[in-house]
């Protein structure tokens, strides 16, 4: 079913390239929030969000309106984020365990005055990338399991399993709060 976004895409493909800006304005904040939540670094988030739109522009001819444009865009953004996390982990093995060695890369840390929020943020950082992606898309971006499966190119069952494991891992790491009441 064609969406309004699909009509904008058709205009761009028909030669009205300036119409792409409509899509950028519409989704730039959503995509930035996603890339920020995945990287927790404002500069990386900005670069990845910009790259998302550039890659979307290049690949626009392949979008056929069978999924929502936002889902298609999320897929590009998430691929970029996961690749970024992979290369960051190679450069800094400490990140694999979720212990960010360089406090400058975590601008969120300064915002979190609550100990529990800090613990939650650190627990998310320690998740395997696919689980972190699933949790982010589900809880923070509000996608359905089916949409998450489309974004991460996996089955809905896998998306649900990743979500379940991610939440379980957070609960385990935050057990001390349960014991504290």
């Amino acid at each position: 079913m064609p969406q309004p976004d699909f009509e904008v895409v058709q205009r761009v493909l028909g030669g009205e390239t300036a119409a792409f800006e409509v899509l950028v304005r519409q989704y730039q904040q959503d995509i930035y929030r996603l890339t920020y939540r995945m990287t927790r670094n404002a500069e990386d988030a900005k670069d990845l969000a910009q790259e998302t739109f550039v890659q979307a522009y290049r690949a626009l001819g392949t979008f056929r309106g069978q999924s929502r444009f936002s889902t298609w865009l999320y897929r590009i953004a998430m691929n970029l984020c996961l690749n970024h996390l992979k290369s960051s982990a190679r450069e800094d093995p400490a990140e694999v365990d979720g212990h960010l060695a360089d406090p400058r890369v975590d601008s969120l840390r300064v915002l979190l005055t609550d100990e529990r929020d800090r613990a939650v943020a650190q627990a998310i950082e320690a998740l395997p990338p696919q689980q972190k992606a699933t949790l982010t898309l589900r809880v923070q971006q509000g996608l359905s399991h089916q949409e998450i499966a489309e974004v991460l190119d996996c089955s809905e069952g896998t998306a649900k399993a990743n979500y379940f494991h991610a939440v379980r891992a957070l609960q385990r790491k935050l057990q001390r709060f349960r014991d504290a009441g």
């Binding site: 390239t17 056929r64 897929r75 709060f177 349960r178």
Partner: protein, 183 residues
């Protein structure tokens, strides 16, 4: 009596309102009588609430203007995007369907689709590196989706009249006002 482990396995589904009515009642009945599981359910709610509420720092003033300008500048250096080869094939084939009635000329349709598939396959094979970047992979998967939708592929059983392909230009010209006579 329902076991605590079994109930805890269902707390996330319960939180997401994804349980059936009967199971939901069973979980809630257990939570009403089991303090440990009720605490576990509270922790789950709190954790998910905090995950959802984790802030994204507000970008500085002028951020979005600069962001938009940077994207504009970068895509300005790109060639204008065009419908993918598959999308153009689909549009072209769709136009061809108006030119000839496929029921009467299945060989033309089937041979056209098969020929295009082979050509595209060759082009893709030559252009696709072993390590696909993410968007390239995305493009390929989207293209494969189109292949599944080509109704013409259902007519692959008749391939004898391949030579008709050579007359496509003639057919197109004839279609200018007299398309119906071709069917």
């Amino acid at each position: 009596m329902t076991g605590c482990d079994e109930i805890r396995d269902r707390l996330l589904s319960h939180h997401e309102d994804a349980l059936g009515a009967e199971e939901r009642r069973r979980v809630e009945a257990h939570l009403a009588t089991c303090g440990e599981c009720a605490r576990e359910a509270r922790l789950l709610r709190e954790v998910l609430g905090r995950v959802q509420a984790l802030p994204v720092p507000e970008p500085p003033a002028g951020f979005w203007e600069e962001f938009g300008a940077a994207v504009r500048e970068r895509i300005g250096a790109e060639p204008p995007p065009r419908p993918s080869l598959w999308a153009r094939v689909a549009a072209w084939v769709s136009g061809l369907q108006g030119l000839v009635r496929l029921r009467r000329m299945p060989a033309l349709a089937a041979a056209t689709a098969l020929g295009l598939l082979l050509v595209i396959g060759l082009v893709r094979t030559q252009q696709t590196p072993r390590d696909l970047p993410p968007v390239e992979a995305l493009v390929l998967s989207e293209d494969l989706g189109i292949a599944q939708n080509l109704e013409l592929l259902e007519n692959l059983d008749v391939l004898e009249e391949v030579e008709v392909l050579e007359r496509l230009d003639l057919l197109r010209r004839l279609n200018g006002g007299r398309g119906s006579r071709l069917s």
